[in-house]
């Protein structure tokens, strides 16, 4: 697992950085741009002048002039094209963007009005508006050709119009980027906000909204908030009305697994205008560990419900995807729906996987699978990697 934050092993004494967010460059990726650029020195390299910040792997090679940070060992992978943020002194470093990763997602806040039983990123109630400011700086630094960017929380919509501003910036500065925002969707119950969202007018923008039930009791319980289902559903309807692209996400765990067919039926009939439905495996992080006895379920145990849910959706032409699942636990019929989605830094394999013929196509594991994983992970012999198609979809 790759670390995304750390404490500098050393930094320029008494320095005050004049900005928080920096795009890393090095001698191979050098342009005349200096604004917001941090130069990463190779060992012994002579520091070129004019950069507001220099990064080194070892304090012995720190430049004589200018601000510098010696990266801790776990962050030495940082390379040209990556974007980092640093505290004013340079002591605390975070990696905001990794140029080599296909799925960068940017945390906008840790505050949230939900308290989901299985939240992998438990909310923290404290002012973190600076995350939003950093995100705007990040967008300004990224190359205009950036293919995609995701925003998560917490709940990004707590920023209201300020989020809309950020998304507008994204549309204007990153014209090719697919933009994905994860939200609990409640704020869109306010039609005015849904309209604001639509006014960003970015056809490459999509919002991912979780739904955990076909009626309020289950959904509200899972997200631990009364009235959530009502707001979220009305929010989705409002977004649909203003023609926005919506993804519905259903995290499958002990509470939601039995209701999968009902949830699928509910979506197919009430929300068929959504662009896609993502059925997601559980990540054993954060609250999921605290609530392990209420949320853990072996994926093997919900295959019939998952099959039924996928047919209820996909056969009626609602695009359906299965995320975060190990193929050896997934019904063969469902393989065509499985997507390799686990962010690369969490994707690690089980011992069984070494000899598995499905390894290349497998969703793999979250890093947190070390904490709990199905007993039934089994290498798939080469002869069995052909998946039959779900009725009439493979035709």
């Amino acid at each position: 697992m790759i670390s995304l934050r750390g404490r500098a092993s050393d930094f320029g004494p008494g320095q005050h950085l004049d900005r928080a967010v920096w795009m890393v460059v090095d001698r191979d990726r050098l342009t005349p741009q200096r604004h917001g650029r941090a130069y990463k020195l190779r060992d012994c390299e002579e520091a070129p002048p004019g950069f507001g910040l220099y990064l080194v792997d070892d304090a012995r090679f720190a430049p004589r002039d200018g601000a510098w940070i010696a990266l801790p060992p776990l962050l030495r992978y940082v390379a040209a094209g990556d974007v980092i943020s640093a505290s004013e002194s340079g002591e605390h470093v975070r990696v905001l963007w990794r140029a080599g990763s296909p799925n960068n997602s940017v945390l906008l806040t840790e505050r949230c009005d939900h308290y989901c039983l299985m939240c992998s990123q438990p909310p923290k109630e404290r002012d973190d508006d600076w995350l939003l400011d950093n995100a705007a700086e990040l967008i300004r630094l990224l190359p205009t050709s950036t293919p995609g960017i995701g925003f998560t929380g917490g709940e990004p919509t707590i920023y209201g119009e300020r989020l809309i501003e950020l998304l507008r910036l994204c549309r204007n500065l990153l014209p090719d980027a697919g933009v994905h925002v994860l939200s609990n969707g409640r704020r869109f119950a306010n039609f005015g906000f849904a309209r604001s969202w639509a006014s960003v007018d970015n056809p490459r923008m999509m919002v991912g909204i979780p739904l955990y039930g076909a009626e309020p009791a289950l959904h509200d319980y899972v997200v631990q908030s009364e009235g959530a289902f009502e707001d979220t559903v009305r929010g989705i309807v409002n977004l649909g009305e203003v023609g926005q692209r919506i993804e519905i996400r259903v995290v499958i765990h002990q509470q939601t697994a039995p209701a999968l067919p009902e949830i699928a039926e509910y979506i197919a009939r009430n929300l068929p205008f959504v662009e896609q439905v993502a059925l997601m495996g559980l990540e054993m992080m954060g609250f999921a560990r605290a609530n392990v006895k209420d949320v853990w379920i072996d994926p093997l145990d919900y295959q019939p419900e998952l099959r039924e849910a996928v047919s209820l959706l996909a056969l009626r032409r609602v695009r359906t995807m299965i995320y975060n699942h190990q193929l050896c636990l997934l019904d063969r019929e469902l393989w065509p729906f499985a997507v390799r989605s686990i962010s690369d830094w969490k994707n690690e394999y089980h011992a069984e996987c070494t000899d598995c013929s499905a390894r290349d196509r497998c969703g793999g594991f979250f890093f947190s699978a070390k904490y709990k994983v199905s007993e039934s992970i089994r290498a798939i012999p080469a002869a069995e990697t052909q998946a039959p198609a779900l009725l009439s979809l493979g035709r």
Binding site: E215, L218, F229, R269, A290, S311, R316, S392, L393
Partner: protein
């Protein structure tokens, strides 16, 4: 973990349940419940009792299922209402898109002499039984007056290919007009294919024209139903279907059968014929009460029952073939399943309420008279002008669409206000079909307790729900048909 509250804390409490509109039907011990827009659930007798007496518990599996299907809601909840409204609006969106299908009867002449056909003439008298260009042009005026975004022009007969020159002209003119109109424009020729020439095929290929033909089943059945000089109707149809498949593509040919009494024992043979020809689906059509059948009073309840058996056997066989890997669709069920399993109104004229006459289709007869439906035209050929809405020479789209001859049957037959239908759990799947009821019982509404339309449809609805609920393979197949 005390930071988290248990499921009980979020379960509905108190007893302020409000019932939303629903209807029900008993199905051998269990109870089918449909909500306002036709979503269904099947309850046990006891559960239904609980719902009916209004003594719903705060929380239970039943309560959750009823809430998920918008049968009940808590006071203060708005989402269930906005969703029902959204779905109802979607279901009726077609009404604002009135008249998508425009049927041009370009010739009444035909070289066949089918006994059940009341509309064709064997005469070679072109002047008398062919549509003129002037009439066709007025028909086009009318077509483009319709507000519908998509317009389908269907050429019928008699045998429309006997007046192919007119078809070419109408297609050309329609395409020219459509350059400004920008509608989603399509053409269909309904032909027995006996006269299908390469020239016709070539024209169809260039103008993306769809062919619909008649195929009653295997050769002996088809040729008995459809006599023509040379007794080769089947051979010519089959040859035509093959050529259309290869020149225009599999998706440009569809075949329709006319179900006669002789068909009733032959459903497997009929389906085999379709499969053998590589057709992707079949329409197990009801016995027609029009034309010959009515004249000879041979249309009886007995036949309706036999037809239901025919349909059940046919559908079962089609599912069996699908199970073996063949992709074969039954279109009549598909229309109903779409109404049952999606919010899309498929727009099948016989299963719409308000009825599909006029709103769904208009028929321009060779002589310029305008009819509310093809069956309405057939009645007229038998001397009953009830569904004649006007004439292309004197009427406008507005005068036709607001004519008493159209509005009266629409209003009188409207299922939501019809005795029996208004309480029927299947009302959203069904239709009002005023032409049928007029032809069989003399008024637009008919008495549903005596109506074979009702008897037949109800049997199909129950059969489809039964299969959907109890047979996983059928359920999947049905979902995929509905999703097409």
């Amino acid at each position: 973990m005390s930071r988290f509250r248990g499921a009980e804390a979020f379960a509905a409490s108190g007893d302020d349940w409000q019932l939303l509109p629903f209807r029900f039907e008993r199905l051998n011990g269990r109870v089918l419940v449909t909500n306002m827009v036709g979503e269904h659930l099947v309850l046990s007798g006891e559960d239904f009792e609980v719902l009916a007496t209004g003594e719903l518990p705060a929380d239970s599996d039943l309560v959750r299922r009823l809430r998920a299907k918008q049968v009940i809601k808590r006071s203060g909840e708005r989402a269930p209402l906005s969703l029902l409204a959204l779905k109802a609006r979607t279901r009726h969106a077609r009404l604002a898109e009135s008249t998508g299908l425009h049927i041009f009867v370009v010739s009444l002449r035909c070289e066949h002499s089918c006994p059940y056909c009341q509309v064709s003439r064997q005469s070679e008298d072109r002047d008398r039984y062919d549509m003129t260009l002037a009439t066709a042009e007025r028909g086009l005026d009318m077509t483009f007056r319709s507000p519908s975004r998509s317009l389908k022009i269907e050429f019928q007969g008699g045998e429309p290919l006997l007046n192919f020159g007119l078809i070419e002209e109408v297609v050309r003119q329609a395409e020219v007009r459509n350059r400004d109109e920008g509608r989603d424009l399509g053409f269909v020729i309904a032909s027995n294919l006996a006269l299908l020439s390469d020239e016709v095929l070539d024209f169809c290929a260039r103008h993306n024209i769809h062919i619909s033909t008649s195929l009653d089943g295997p050769a002996d059945l088809h040729n008995r139903n459809r006599p023509r000089p040379g007794r080769d109707s089947w051979e010519r149809a089959v040859d035509g279907i093959r050529r259309v498949r290869e020149t225009l593509g599999v998706d440009h040919i569809s075949a329709l059968m006319t179900t006669t009494k002789r068909s009733l024992d032959r459903v497997r043979d009929i389906i085999d014929t379709y499969v053998d020809l590589g057709l992707r689906g079949i329409f197990l059509r009801p016995l027609s009460p029009y034309g010959f059948a009515i004249k000879t009073k041979s249309y009886s309840a007995y036949d309706a029952e036999r037809w239901i058996d025919f349909y059940r056997e046919g559908l079962g066989y089609i599912l069996e073939l699908n199970r073996q890997g063949l992709d074969l669709t039954e279109y009549f069920s598909t229309v109903i399943l779409r109404k049952m399993l999606t919010n899309v109104e498929p727009g099948y004229v016989d299963l719409m309420s308000p009825a599909g006459i006029g709103i769904g289709a208009l028929v321009y007869n060779y002589d310029g008279s305008v009819y509310a439906s093809d069956e309405g035209r057939m009645l007229a050929e038998m001397g009953d002008e009830t569904f004649r809405l006007g004439h292309l020479e004197v009427d406008t789209y507005e005068s036709i669409m607001t004519s008493e001859a159209l509005l009266a049957p629409l209003e009188e037959s409207f299922a939501l206000s019809a005795p029996m239908c208004s309480d029927c759990a299947f009302e959203t799947y069904c239709g009002s079909d005023p032409v049928y009821h007029y032809a069989t019982s003399g008024d637009f509404l008919g008495r549903k307790s005596e109506s074979d339309f009702c008897r037949r449809n109800m049997a199909i609805f129950k059969h489809l729900i039964d299969l959907y609920e109890n047979d996983e393979f059928a359920r999947r197949t049905f979902l995929s048909w509905a999703g097409r």
